[in-house]
């Protein structure tokens, strides 16, 4: 079995701290749902955050702050907290089920995508991408960072293989042409920042028709 691909330490720390952009955090959350050991580490980092919070120099609150919070607590006594309805893709990791999904869009033979209606951050958005066995995406580079987590199946790049739960970070430097190597379609959740640039004359020809 190939080495497991995990998010970098900096990215896990940013997720634990709550400073990652929301689309990126959605992909990391999906990864953590499939990798208990990394989820446990993020929990441990919550304890680090707790200690640092506890050690902060307190900033005085207004005198009536407590009374106001208790009044609000009183006001909602007996009200149940609304829970978010889950979407219909039962196979998704739990963090992804809380978001509405757009319709599937055909992208090319054996390739389709749908939007995950998670919070956006500027150009950065979340999609589900499904690619059939043996298919490869057109060769492409990225306008920004692309984070990918495998939900079903597996794909391989020129040098590495990515299985269920694996996490890949590709930046503007990477020329990317993943190929699906599992017998079933490969489903990924992807945070895309910026436009994908397709490589080669064919890519430039079809670029206007491929809208991710």
């Amino acid at each position: 079995m190939s080495a497991r691909h995990n998010p970098s330490e900096e990215r896990l720390l940013a997720y634990a701290a709550g400073t990652l952009s929301p689309p990126e955090a959605v992909v990391v959350a999906a990864h953590l749902a499939m990798r208990p050991e990394n989820d446990a580490w993020v929990r441990q980092l919550q304890a680090v955050g707790g200690r640092l919070l506890d050690e902060l120099e307190p900033a005085a609150m207004p005198d009536d702050a407590l009374a106001r919070v208790l009044a609000r607590a009183e006001a909602d006594a007996g009200q149940a907290l609304a829970s978010t309805p889950l979407n219909d893709m039962a196979g998704l990791p739990e963090p992804l089920r809380r978001y509405a999904l757009g319709p599937w869009r055909w992208l090319g033979p054996g390739m389709r995508a749908r939007d995950v209606h998670a919070p956006r951050d500027g150009d950065c958005r979340v999609i589900l991408l499904e690619i059939g066995p043996g298919r490869e995406t057109p060769k492409h580079t990225h306008g920004g960072v692309e984070l990918t987590c495998v939900i079903h199946g597996a794909y391989a790049t020129e040098t590495e293989r990515f299985d269920v739960g694996d996490f890949e970070e590709a930046d503007t430097e990477v020329l990317h042409q993943p190929r699906v190597v599992s017998p079933d379609p490969c489903l990924c959740v992807v945070a895309l920042d910026g436009q994908i640039q397709l490589d080669g004359w064919l890519g430039k020809l079809i670029q206007p028709f491929i809208k991710l």
């Binding site: 691909h5 970098s8 330490e9 208990p36 050991e37 993020v42 919550q46």
Partner: protein
């Protein structure tokens, strides 16, 4: 990039560390006290207990958001909202799984994206769950359980530089570039300093076989 978190390799890098892990300071009495207070809120809607929690944590929650650049008024609203969540969700707290400060930090972490990002739409943010009814984990993960005393020892073993980048990473908005600016360091140096701090922390916490 492949990240492998093998404790043995990292452990040999910091081999001298293990001797120190046998020296454990006693748990601060205050730690357990705040746990009991949250339980009292959960069991009896105990306003006196809540007042004591508020007195300790609200000024720290205000300081926390001000570190991220929020003005005092917004930080006070944030602290009140976070404490209202403590009141509403106290039943989800389990002192066997997390300490009071850890749990309240997670509440703050989940809220901060909503507050600091003006463009956040009303879609749910990727939150870290406050209840932790997770399936049983393998042994090596249980050894990373949130043990306040062990964490305190581990954090005391980090260098002043390392604690500083962790603190900045947890509190600043847009942390990496902001840390680089504040410390007048190149971005790459900041990232490698964060990575080293994280690896050292992980080593200190994981190498300890979880013995009492």
């Amino acid at each position: 990039m492949i990240q492998t978190f093998t404790g043995t390799v990292l452990g040999s890098m910091y081999g001298q560390v293990s001797d120190f892990q046998r020296i454990r300071p006693p748990v601060t009495p205050a730690d357990g006290e705040y746990d009991r207070l949250i339980e009292a809120v959960a069991l009896r809607r105990d306003r006196e207990a809540f007042a004591r929690l508020f007195e300790h944590f609200a000024p720290r929650l205000k300081a926390y958001l001000m570190k991220a650049g929020a003005p005092a008024g917004a930080a006070e609203d944030f602290a009140q909202d976070a404490m209202l969540t403590v009141w509403r969700k106290a039943e989800l707290f389990d002192s066997a799984k997390a300490r009071a400060a850890t749990w309240i930090f997670t509440i703050a972490r989940n809220r901060r994206l909503d507050v600091l990002r003006q463009d956040a739409r009303r879609t749910p943010m990727p939150e870290i769950e406050l209840s932790q009814d997770e399936p049983e984990r393998p042994d090596q993960i249980l050894s990373m359980s949130q043990d306040a005393a062990r964490l305190k020892t581990a954090m005391a073993r980090l260098s002043a530089d390392q604690i500083e980048v962790l603190r900045l990473a947890f509190f600043q908005d847009n942390p990496h570039s902001e840390i680089a600016r504040l410390l007048n360091l190149p971005l790459g140096t900041v990232k490698s300093r964060i990575r080293k701090a994280m690896i050292k922390l992980r080593t200190l916490l994981e190498d300890d076989g979880g013995e009492a």
